[in-house]
Amino acid sequence: MEIVTAIFSPKLMSQIFVGLSRTVILFIVASGLSLILGVLRIPNIWHGSLYMVGAFMTFTISGVLGGGSMGFWMALILAPLGVALVSLIAERSFFQHLYEREHLMLLLLTFAFSLVFGDLVKMVWGMEYKSVPVPRIFQGSVHLFGGLPFPLYNVFLLAIGPVVAIALWLIVNKTKIGKISRAAAVDREMVGAVGINVSWVFAFVFMIGCFLAGLGGALVAPTVNVSLGMDHTLIMEAFLIVIIGGLGNIGGALVGALIFGLAQSLGILIWPQFGIVFPYAAVIVVLLLRPTGLLKSTW
């Protein structure tokens, strides 16, 4: 019994929970990325910018609506929708014309978009950091482990993670459009031959994926400083998660996000000076053992 309490010490539990709340954000963003990668075969570099836009839009919407809790909840719904709308416009206007071309071109186009949006965000919102206040119900902390405080907002994140995961699973596996998307991921020509407009399937999937990016940004906004450059680090982490999870595999995105988030917070516990390296070390280990990712990729 003593071993159990020693292993599950307050320090450890506290770090595990912090890591899990980070996992939630990573999973939401990475699942969107994985979805787009699996069905459209596009490594969507623009994903990071959309995450950033989601966070900035949350700032603006909650500010316009008074900055209180109501503002935040509205922003949480509206910002990802706004991002999804932007992504739909972009996809219909630009991306869809390149589906028949080499993948490299699509990848570079998403990179071009991320460059353009990087500056657009600067122009619209200015260069300073922005701060989104935590909604009043979630302010403060709860004393969980050995009296150590744990921010209430992070508890909220831990609750919302599974909700999003389940919702996503339902959409992908139980709805008609979800099943069509999965089929299109495996064999788009067959889906087209059966008479389904593959192009609109792609548009739908792209929109969902980008919605998730915006949602991740909106959720993370109260916990971090909303600033330029948040797109760059996140997109790199998201790509790593998708790779170790298995390209196109949403469950893989979950596994990858778990590994990444927990490795970081536990790493800080073990070696505070170099904590940040642990998730990357975990990625190396996974890639050496299974370069195609832990779970099956869709292609």
């Binding site: 320090k11 770090q15 890591g19 260069m127 950091y129 302010q139 405080p149 400083n225 904590g275």
Partner: protein, 406 residues
């Protein structure tokens, strides 16, 4: 498609044209090149430096300039990246032909540019970087330190901390030049004054880190007596917010250099980190001397806000340039440098001397604790302020010069 090829040729030709267009450098201006971070979190601080500088420049130009020449300045944004900063400095010197270089808030960039200034033999006024290496280990004839450096701040802070009862310390901060420098200086001086202190462990996060929660929870669970937070311009405010949100401030007493500055406490508003100790070379409300009051009034009239400590650096740079060139009698870089050594300027905090031996401006230091006061409703301020004169904590000339290898 012929249009496209014409477009391409036009583009290349266009480029060639601009590549060969040299910028104008009027013989009747003194040109100052400023490299600083104007994007991201440090931007407000760099802007403050610029505003303080502009105040002096406008005053000088209204009087006809120095030696009959107006002061002209150009700015470049280095985005807190040393490679961009260095490239910008090169452009300013090699292409824009500036007479004096000024900048930057990033200690890493400042060191890189300092090297370059030495090679190019151009005076470089470091307005906002704090690492002691600038005038210490990597100091040389062409670089001047204006902001208080980490050696000065470290000593002042260690002095104050050594009189407090804390024993088990934790150090956490930004993993770059400034972070390590301030932490080392505070710690080494503290250990020298009070040998019984213990360093439990250290945590270093990347510059511009946005999510401090995992680091903070870990520090709290280790339960140190005191935390030395070595945060720099990019993370100061966000760390303060996170520290408050996670309850760190309530649990662990903390020290952060520059946390009592208005630039940090202003934006935080009522959310300021109450009870945290800090040092800063300037506060707009202390000391309440006529010189300080006039300066603050002028600043508010021009920019509609209170000056942060950074404006003082820009202001001092302006004064140094003014008196330096006046004393030199010509727009000559070497004469300017000679004139600056030992020069004394007037400032809102009294007379400041640019020490000749190491080219460091001798600023006073305020040590205080963050509190709510009835005088200011929208933000917190420093309280129990002790103003320490520079003579009490400036490292001696011989010590500084010994650190320089050449």
């Amino acid at each position: 498609m012929k249009k496209v090829i014409y477009l391409s040729i036009l583009m290349v030709g266009f480029l060639g044209l601009f590549l060969f267009s040299s910028p104008s450098h009027g013989a009747n201006t003194i040109k100052i090149g400023i490299v600083d971070t104007y994007s991201g979190p440090p931007a407000t601080m760099s802007q403050d430096v610029l505003d303080g500088f502009k105040m002096v420049v406008n005053e000088i130009n209204a009087k006809g300039g120095i030696l009959g020449k107006k002061i002209e300045f150009v700015t470049r944004d280095e985005k807190f990246k040393p490679d961009v900063g260095l490239a910008m400095a090169k452009e300013l010197v090699l292409k824009e032909n500036v007479d004096v270089l000024m900048g930057t808030i990033s200690s890493s960039t400042a060191l890189a540019v300092s090297d370059f200034a030495k090679k190019e033999k151009i005076p470089f006024l470091v307005t906002n970087s704090r690492t002691e290496k600038i005038t210490g280990e990597k100091g040389h004839r062409y670089v001047f330190g204006i902001a208080e450096n980490t050696a000065m701040a470290g000593r002042a802070a260690a002095n104050a901390l050594s009189r407090k009862p804390y024993v088990k310390y934790w150090i956490a901060g930004d993993d770059y030049e400034y972070g390590h420098s301030i932490a080392e200086n505070v710690w080494n001086n503290l250990k020298a004054l009070k040998p019984g202190v213990q360093l439990v462990d250290q945590t270093w996060w990347k510059v511009g880190e946005s999510d401090f929660t995992p680091y903070i929870t870990q520090i709290m669970s280790a339960k140190p007596d005191f935390l030395i937070a070595a945060t720099g311009g990019a993370t100061m405010v966000t760390f303060a917010k996170a520290a408050k949100a996670t309850g760190l401030i309530a649990r662990v007493p903390m020290y952060q250099h520059t946390v009592i500055d208005y630039g940090i406490l202003g934006p935080l508003g009522a959310d300021g980190p109450e009870g945290v100790y800090g040092t800063a070379p300037y506060l707009f409300y202390y000391p309440d001397t006529p010189a300080n009051k006039t300066y603050v009034e002028e600043f508010r009239k021009a920019y509609g806000r209170y000056p942060q400590m950074f404006a003082l650096f820009g202001y001092s740079a302006g004064r140094l340039i003014e008196k330096g060139f006046q004393k030199a009698g010509a727009v000559d870089k070497e004469k300017f440098i000679n004139a600056l050594e030992g020069m004394v300027i007037d400032s809102p905090v009294g007379k400041l001397e640019m020490r000749a031996c190491d080219h460091q401006l001798q600023l006073p230091m305020m040590f205080g604790v963050v509190k709510k006061t009835p005088q200011f409703k929208d933000f917190l301020v420093a309280s129990d302020i002790v103003m320490v004169p520079s003579t009490d904590f400036m490292p001696k000339c011989e010590e500084v010069l010994k650190t320089r290898k050449n």
